[in-house]
Amino acid sequence: MEIQSCVTILNEWDIVAARQLGRNVAKELGFGTVDQARITTAISELARNIYLYAGQGQLCIDRLNEQGKTGLRIIAVDEGPGIPDIRKVMEDGFSTSGGLGAGLPGVRRLMDDFNIDSNPGEGTDIRATKWLR
């Protein structure tokens, strides 16, 4: 069973909308305050990356129900420039924009499952899941 809702990311306020959506779903699914904060922060990172590096894209929230386990999946998709070296961007401190470079590695630590798929010139697809315990 999957129910998905999405926010199109075009400007900074869409990042806030995406966070709001994620927080609401997380609350509904029964995540506690710490996990709610982790999920909204992860959404914020991924949505901002779309805004900064791809210009536009989509951020979707999936409610998961697999084998009695409940989860929330963040899907961040864009058709931007893509990431040439995935290993590098997953290192702490790597940034091409003078940022902290803690976003992607941070999201991996904030969430339980993390998957990144990107091809230069085609775009980026990042999925991160948090399971309810």
């Binding site: 914020s44 803690a102 976003g103 904030l110």
Partner: protein, 277 residues
């Protein structure tokens, strides 16, 4: 055609409006029906029909100002624009159907009449959409100003200690203001310790952290020390997960603890007065 349609609508006003209301209700979803009060809905429908009759009846200037007033009223009612626009289309069809049903138009001229009705009601529809759009624009720009006003004040609480309470989302524009106000305030208040209170910031991601770190470094450069206070437990957790190093800062969980610490750093403390008997 004009006069024909006018007199038809005038003669069958009640029937047409009732049919119209029924159809609009049928098409609207439940959420909408609960929002729109029956009475207001009825009243507005009659008002609308009087307005379009005026459009045909009288010269344009009065009609124009009445149309503006009507549009504004519709917008104030807070009805969704899709509801209003599809309602207008439904009206066209109701009148058309009624003309046919009452055998006012022959089969071969049906299309012609529909086109006429459409053209006649289009400017009305446009005016209402225009009013919606400009109302929204106004609201958005007012809210932008309101947001700026609640931006980032630096408050000199006691000598040498200033506090900047941050409430709400921090975007790039606000981050700039935070920096400016901090530096300006530190100098003009002669602050030695500055407390940045993030109790009211809902999400602390790497961008917010980055701006706060930069601000603190800048404060340091002008000779003051910066403290990050109001770090809620869940925010502390996410900051650790993100791998952001705040070791360079003095941090406290509450503003109160921060204040005590700041007093200590400036060689002061709060004492309770002994009761005088």
């Amino acid at each position: 055609m004009y006069n024909e349609i006018i007199s038809h609508i005038k003669n069958r006003k009640t029937e047409i409006i009732e049919e119209w209301i029924d159809r609009v209700k049928e098409a609207a979803d439940e959420r909408m029906i609960s929002v729109v009060s029956e009475q207001v809905f009825q009243g507005t429908s009659y008002e609308f029909v009087d307005l379009i009759l005026l459009n045909l009846d009288e010269n344009n200037s009065e009609y124009k100002s009445k149309l503006e007033m009507f549009s504004e009223k519709i917008v104030r009612l807070g009805w969704p624009i899709t509801f209003v626009v599809s309602g207008l289309r439904t009206f066209t069809h109701v009148v058309h159907d009624d003309l046919i049903q009452e055998k006012k138009i022959s089969k071969d001229r049906e299309g012609e009449y529909l086109e006429f009705l459409d053209n006649w009601l289009a400017p009305l529809s446009n005016e209402i959409i225009h009013t919606y759009a400009s109302t929204w624009e106004k609201t958005v720009s007012l809210q932008k100003i309101a947001l700026q006003e609640l931006s980032a004040p630096l408050i000199p609480v006691v000598e040498h200690i200033s506090i900047m309470p941050l409430v709400g989302t921090i975007d790039t524009e606000r981050a700039k203001l935070i920096m400016e106000n901090l530096l300006e305030g530190v100098v003009s208040h002669r602050a030695e310790v500055v407390l940045i209170d993030i109790t009211g910031v809902p999400v602390v991601d790497t961008m917010v952290a980055h701006h706060v770190i930069q601000a603190a470094e800048a404060v340091h450069l002008v000779g003051a020390r910066c403290m990050l206070v109001g770090i809620r437990p869940e925010i502390a957790q996410t900051i650790v997960n993100l791998g952001i190093d705040l070791n360079k800062f003095i941090t406290t969980s509450t503003l109160r603890k921060g204040m005590e610490k700041a007093l200590e750093m400036t060689n002061r403390k709060i004492v309770e007065l002994e009761e005088v008997n």
